[in-house]
């Protein structure tokens, strides 16, 4: 595989897509405990943001947790093992699908508390500023989280303190099953930034190049000490809010879903873009085969791994341990 930005971006998007398809298959096989939220449809937004960051920059995220560390370059095997609750999981089976964290790639925590990752990344940016490391932090959140008070609080504090943080909204149009139009006073999350003296940028979240460029601009601004940016990527979730969730009553028009899947699939759009450029079918097939291989390896690794010993539940509660009362 050619070691260039485009090939790497395509590979990471395929890894997310393939990981999610494999997880859904494992759900149908009854292998997955707990709730699972798929990022299919949002790959360009995630990878465009992550590719604009350096390896040691920080990201935090959401209950829709899988795509973000994969986009940042995480190894797939420990992530897949975590999905199955195995001892080899990236969080040793203590976090599961909604709470991926892989500090080896700067992933400092996906949070199942909606908006919970926002102050975490803002605090990581505070560390970078105080220590003068030059790192930046990016927090992924959804349109639903934009209505949590911590976004307002952290946007304001980041603006006042000029923190090197990027607030990255994946606006997929629905907070679980509630349409954004029913819970937002106006449709653009990015416009809220102006109220805090922060640049707000809207990008097409299905377009890798647009997201990548917007995030690069925000990263440069953050590293230069000029403070935060709020980026809103308009995107779309192809799967249900939660894999296997059955909602009585349609909350999304069938035509809308069909339109995005046929016309606005970020992976297909990027593939076509690369073919229009200097990539050949052979180049892309090679990347696709590589992604498939990594997914299969991850699934095998996860299935073959052992579950944790129940006694491990009593470990890693504290860094300076105290006696645990049972």
């Amino acid at each position: 595989m050619k070691n260039d930005i485009q090939s790497e971006a395509y590979l990471r998007m395929l890894k997310i897509r393939g990981f999610e398809q494999a997880v859904k298959q494992l759900v149908t096989e009854g292998e997955v405990p707990g709730a699972v939220h798929s990022s299919v449809g949002q790959e360009a937004a995630i990878v465009g943001a992550c590719m604009a960051l350096a390896d040691d920059d920080y990201i935090s995220g959401t209950h829709r947790s899988h795509g973000h560390p994969i986009g940042k370059g995480a190894q797939l095997k420990p992530l897949m093992a975590e999905i199955l609750g195995k001892v080899t999981g990236v969080c040793k089976g203590r976090g599961g699908s909604m709470h991926f964290t892989d500090t080896s790639v700067g992933s400092i925590g996906e949070s199942a508390i909606v908006g919970g990752g926002i102050p975490i990344a803002t605090g990581a940016a505070l560390t970078a500023q105080v220590k003068g490391t030059g790192q930046v932090a990016l927090t992924f959140f959804g349109d639903g989280a934009s209505n949590e008070g911590v976004l307002a609080e952290c946007l304001n504090m980041a603006a006042v303190w000029k923190l090197p943080v990027i607030f990255f909204c994946e606006n997929n149009g629905y907070a679980a099953v509630t349409p954004a139009k029913d819970s937002h006073g106006q449709p653009d999350v990015a416009r809220r930034a102006e109220g805090y003296g922060v640049p707000g940028v809207i990008v097409d979240g299905q377009d890798f190049d647009a997201v990548y460029a917007a995030t690069q601009t925000a990263v440069a601004r953050a590293r230069a000490g000029e403070g935060p940016t709020l980026i809103e990527a308009k995107t779309y979730r192809f799967d249900e809010h939660c894999v296997g969730l059955f909602i009585n009553g349609a909350y999304r028009p069938a035509e809308e879903i069909a339109h995005f899947m046929s016309e606005r699939d970020p992976v297909t759009l990027y593939r076509n873009l690369l073919l229009d450029g200097d990539k050949s079918e052979g180049d892309l097939s090679e990347i696709e085969a590589m992604a498939d291989g990594l997914i299969q390896e991850a699934v095998s690794f996860a299935k073959e791994s052992a579950y944790p010993d129940p006694e491990e539940a009593f470990e890693l509660v504290h860094a300076n341990p105290i006696s645990i009362r049972r």
């Binding site: 400092i108 605090g123 505070l126 304001n156 890693l316 300076n320």
Partner: protein, 325 residues
Amino acid sequence: MTESNTKRMTYLDALGLAQREELEGNPDTIIIGEDIALYAAGGAYGNTEASRIRSAPISECGFAGMAVGAAITGLRPIVDLTIANFIYLAADPIINQAARLRYMTGGQFKVPVTYRASMWHSQANAAQHSDRPYPMFMNIPGLKVVCPATPEDAKGLLKAAIRDDDPVIVFEDNDLWGKKGDVPLDTEFVVPIGKARTHREGSDVSIISVSGCLRHALKAADDLARDGINADVIDLRTLLPLDNDAILGTLAKTGRVVIVDPAHRTMGAAAEIAAILVEDGFDMLKKPVKRVVTPDVPIPFSPPMEAPLYPNPEKIAAAARELMA
């Protein structure tokens, strides 16, 4: 401790000294809170650079959560939440993030963050400023909770909290802020988290005290001594983890226990202490456990209504006498 190694100062000054020493002693330590800059201008933080002193907007949830993000990436934040009731606004990041991130990530993080919360009860501030909320946080695995009752412990426990690699909440008794005591000046002086302290030895009845009730317990013990009743008085100092050895140790000495706790009766700290005594020390109990606590009502504003609600020396002594009857 020689005379020259200690200085008589207030509980509040002891807290300030602890902060100043830890800020000056470790460049990773920062302080975040409301109106913090005012104290910086007064020299409260010594030579600490301005970048480590963060006067925050009134955004408790936001900055309490930012402190978690800062802690897991290499800083050692002290968050001053001021009035303890405000901890409810910050409860989500303290509970859902600080207490659990190490565990949920399979040990990928340490979370060395300290939250200060001052309990402004018995000062006619009414129910939104007068809470003693530590029992709720005793129910959160992953946290540590301390309640210093003397200026010496205020300094030593706050320093231990700041140096600890886990999240610690320091609940201060605001009634004690102006009270004076001898405080060690050694910058390495810390009070270990999880260890109770015996303030008075006795063999007739135990008084197990929580937070600022210590001074009431000691006064009650003086009163009881005049009747020939010798009280063993211990201050738990740390509520999570509880010092089970000290709790059962004083029971072994006396067989009779009064627990004094300024929190409300239902599910207060005293309830858990009583459960330990009964579960693990039942055979040593000569009488039922007594609790002197605050009744289950919101704290009223008007002083004649408020004052009688809290534990006081008379109530403690009366409870002890009942056990001796």
